[in-house]
Symmetry: C2
Subunit: 441 residues, 2 copies
C-alpha cells in the first residue's frame, strides 16, 4: 500500500464563529427599566473574585483575611512551669509548715526561664525557680518567695503547699492540634500574638486590592490650585473615594482628574489596567450629552450601564475592561451620589476581593428623633447622625438635606438612614434601619 | 573720685550644685506600696507630649489628628447651578404650559458644566443646560428634558416651571467662612472629601508616632525557628504589641528579641533612641533575680518602677531615656499582662502623641451572663466576649481563665471586663463595665 494511501482524510475543520464575549445577563428591571439596589450589587459581586492568597509575615498580615485553617503544632504552655518566683518542692515535704514551725529543705540550685533538665528533684529538697521556668520532674508545687526566708543553701518554708500550687500545666492554654484560626477570619492584633505564640511566622492571606481612582469632568480643578472661572469646582470625588477605599484596606492609586475628552479617558484607563485589581471612576454615566464615560468605555471592554431604584445613585456603570477583564465601577459624579454608591456597591466588592466578611454594612435599628420623609419607589439613603445611650440604644437624626451635592452634611454624618422603596415616611419615635459608617465590622 | 573707687563690689557668684534631673514625683501609693491604675496612667500621660504637627497631603492625613481649624474660603456650590439636564428659562415664560398647550421658546445655545458667561438670558428664550452648569443671569428655573421636546433651535415646554425649580443655590451647602473642621478632630474619609471640595490640598496634622518594640527574655525564640530545648517558648509579645500599636496608627519598628544580657539590652535600646518617639519593652520588670531591664535601665535615663493595683499587669516600668528623654514603657513579660498593660497605659500614650481623642477606651456597660469573681484590692481585667442584640444591648461572657499566660482566650475575646478594686463579684444578670476592644473610637 503506497504511503500516501495510508494518509487519513483530514477531518473538515469547522471554524465556529467565535461568540462575542459578553457580561452575564443583567438582573431583571421593573416597569421603569430600573434594577433594585440589591440586584445590582449582587450582579457586580458575581463578577468579581477573591484575590489569590499569598504568604505574608504575620505582622504584615494584620487586617487581612487568612486563607487557611491554622492548627497549633505545639502545646501552650509547652511544659509545666512556675507561675511565681519561688521554690519548686514536693508538696508533701511542706505539710504542717507554719510561721512558727517552718520546714527546712536543702536547696539544690536554681532554674531560670529557658533552662531545661531531666534530673528529678530528690525528696526532701527544694530548687529555686523563676516565673516561667520548667518544673523539674518529681516536684509538684511551687512555694513563692513570700512564704520562705529566700535561703540559698537551705530554705525555710513557712506555709504548707497544696499539690500543684502555682504550676501552669502543659497544654492548659492550647493543645497541639487545636485550631487557632479558621480560613476567612480577619487577622487582628491579638491573633498576631497568638500566631507568634504557637511559632507561626507566616500565613496565607489575601492581599490588599490595588484600587485605581479617577474622576472625570472638565469643570473639575485639583484642590490647592486656583479656579480659572467661577463655574469650575474642586474635585472632591477622587479624594473621597480614594480615602474610603484606603480606609477599607485597599492599596489606592489616586490618578486624579481626567477631562471630558473621550481619547484622554480611554488612554488614562488603558494606562492603569496593568496595576489595577479594580478601577473606580466618577462622572459621565448619566443621560446627559457629555456623559463620555458611558460613551467610550464599551470600546475598551464589556460594559453594563443601568439605572438603579435608589436615591441618590440612580445611574450606575460596570465593566470588565481590557484583555485581563479588570473590574471597573463607574459611579455618578455628584459627591453624595458617588459616596453612597461606594457604600452600596464598591465597598462590598473590595471586601469580596479581600475575602473579608461581612461584605455589607451591618444594618442596625435606630429610633428616628423626628419625622423622616422618603420618595416611594426608590431605596432612599439619607445622611444621619446616630447617638448611642449608655445601654447601647441608638437614636438617629437626619443631617443636611436630600441634595446629592451637600458634602458638608456627609462629613457630619456617621450613618446612612435606609428607607426601602415601599416606605414614604418614618414617624418620629419609630425604628428605622441604618448603616453605621464609622464602626469596624 | 578715682576711677577704681566707682568700681562696684562684684557680687559673689554662687555656683548652685546642679540638681540631678529626675522624674516628677510619683503618684501616692496605698499601704501595700501600690499605685492605682488610673494614677499610674495619668503619671505617664503627664510625661509624654503631642508630636509636633506637620503639613500633609489630605489623602495621607487620613486617620490623623488635624491641628488647625479649617475655614472654607469658598461657597459650596460656588455659583447657582442646575440640578438637572434641561433648559434654563425665565419661569414666567412657561406659565400655563401643558402637554396639550406647549410654550415654545427660542434656544440660545447651551451651557456645559465648567462653562461661564455673564451674558443674561433674554426674556422669551431658553438655553440648554447640563447638570452642574451655571445658571445664566436672569434665568430663574430649569425645565428638565422630560418636560420638553429636547429641541435645538426652538424648544417646546410641556409644563409650567416653578420659580427656582431645579436650581442649586450658591452657598446652600457651605458658606465662605464656615468652619469645616476643628483642631483636634480625626480626619476620616468623608472629611478628606470635604477638604478637597473646598479646595484644601494640605492640612496640618500630627504624625504617626514611631514606636519601637522589643521583647526581653533569654528563653524566647523567634517564631518560625525551632526550639532548641523544651523550656524555650516563642516570642509573642513583640508581635502582639507591634500589631496593637500599628492598629492604633503608629509607625512600628519591631526590633524583636534581646536576651537577658545587661549589655545587649543597653546597646539595643541605645541604638533605637534615634528613631523612636516611644519605646516599648516586655519582660524583666518584676522582682525576680533575672529582671534585668529593671536593673540596667536606670543607667540610661530617668526611670520609675512600681507596682500597680491591677491584675494582671502589676509590675510596671517607665523611663525617659537618653539625652532626648525618649519615653519608654516597660511592660511585664506575661503575654496577657503585656496586652492588658498596653490597653491600660500604652494605647492612651500613643493616642496622646497622635492628638487623638478619646485617649481611653470608652467604658460601656454589658450584662454579665454568669457570675464573675474578682480579687478584691486590685482592679481586675478579665477577657470577655460581648454580643450585642439588635437593639444594641450588650451581654458579656468571660472567656478563658484568669491566668496571665492564656493567649488563646485573649485572641477570642473582644472586650475587657473591668472590675474595680472594691468589687469581689458581679452576679449573673447585673451590669458590669467593659472596654470594647474592636470598635473604633
Amino acid at each position: 500500500m503506497p504511503l500516501f494511501g495510508r494518509k487519513k482524510k483530514e477531518p473538515e475543520v469547522v471554524v465556529a464563529e467565535p461568540e462575542a464575549p459578553q457580561l452575564p445577563p443583567p438582573p431583571p428591571t421593573d416597569e421603569r427599566g430600573w434594577r433594585s439596589m440589591e440586584d445590582h450589587r449582587d450582579y457586580l459581586l458575581d463578577q468579581v473574585h477573591q484575590l489569590p492568597a499569598f504568604g505574608q509575615q504575620i505582622l504584615d498580615a494584620l487586617d487581612l483575611s487568612i486563607c487557611e485553617d491554622i492548627e497549633s503544632d505545639v502545646d501552650l504552655p509547652g511544659f509545666d512551669n512556675s507561675a511565681m518566683d519561688g521554690y519548686a518542692v514536693h508538696f508533701g515535704d511542706t505539710l504542717g509548715a507554719a510561721e512558727d514551725a517552718p520546714v527546712t529543705l536543702a536547696v539544690m540550685g536554681e532554674i531560670a526561664a529557658g533552662d531545661w533538665s531531666d534530673e528529678p528533684l530528690p525528696p526532701g529538697t527544694a530548687i529555686k525557680i523563676m516565673t516561667g521556668a520548667p518544673i523539674p520532674p518529681g516536684a509538684d508545687a511551687v512555694v513563692p518567695y513570700e512564704a520562705t526566708d529566700r535561703g540559698t543553701e537551705d530554705v525555710r518554708v513557712f506555709a504548707g503547699a497544696r499539690e500543684g500550687q502555682h504550676i501552669r500545666r502543659r497544654g492548659e492554654d492550647v493543645s497541639a492540634g487545636d485550631v487557632m484560626m479558621r480560613s476567612g477570619a480577619r487577622v487582628g492584633a491579638r491573633d498576631v500574638g497568638l500566631l507568634a505564640a504557637i511559632g507561626v511566622d507566616k500565613v496565607m492571606v489575601r492581599p490588599r486590592p490595588r484600587v485605581v481612582v479617577l474622576a472625570t469632568g472638565s469643570e473639575l480643578v485639583e484642590p490647592g490650585l486656583a479656579l480659572s472661572n467661577p463655574a469650575q469646582l474642586y474635585d472632591s470625588n477622587s479624594y473621597l473615594l480614594a480615602a474610603a477605599a484606603r480606609a477599607e484596606g485597599a492599596q489606592v492609586f489616586r490618578v486624579g482628574l481626567v477631562g471630558d475628552d473621550a481619547e484622554a479617558i480611554k488612554q488614562a484607563i488603558s494606562d492603569q489596567l496593568v496595576r489595577a485589581d479594580l478601577i473606580i471612576t466618577t462622572g459621565g454615566v448619566s443621560q446627559g450629552d457629555y456623559d463620555v464615560v458611558k460613551a467610550v468605555m464599551p470600546e475598551l471592554g464589556l460594559t453594563d450601564f443601568c439605572e438603579v431604584a435608589m436615591q441618590p445613585g440612580k445611574p450606575q456603570g460596570f465593566g470588565l475592561i481590557g484583555e485581563d477583564r479588570v473590574p471597573m465601577i463607574m459611579l455618578p459624579g455628584n459627591p453624595v451620589s458617588a459616596y453612597i454608591s461606594f457604600e452600596a456597591f464598591v465597598r462590598p466588592v473590595i471586601r469580596k476581593m479581600m475575602g473579608v466578611e461581612p461584605l455589607f454594612r451591618p444594618q442596625v435599628r435606630a429610633i428616628a428623633t423626628h419625622l423622616l420623609r422618603s420618595v416611594p419607589g426608590k431605596k432612599q439613603f439619607a445622611r444621619g447622625l446616630v447617638t448611642t445611650d449608655p445601654a447601647g440604644r441608638r437614636s438617629v437624626t437626619a443631617v443636611g438635606g436630600h441634595g446629592s451635592h451637600l458634602v458638608s452634611s456627609m462629613a457630619r454624618a456617621n450613618a446612612l438612614i435606609v428607607m426601602d422603596p415601599d416606605v414614604d415616611h418614618v414617624p418620629a419615635g419609630s425604628h428605622v434601619p441604618v448603616w453605621m459608617l464609622d464602626e469596624v465590622s
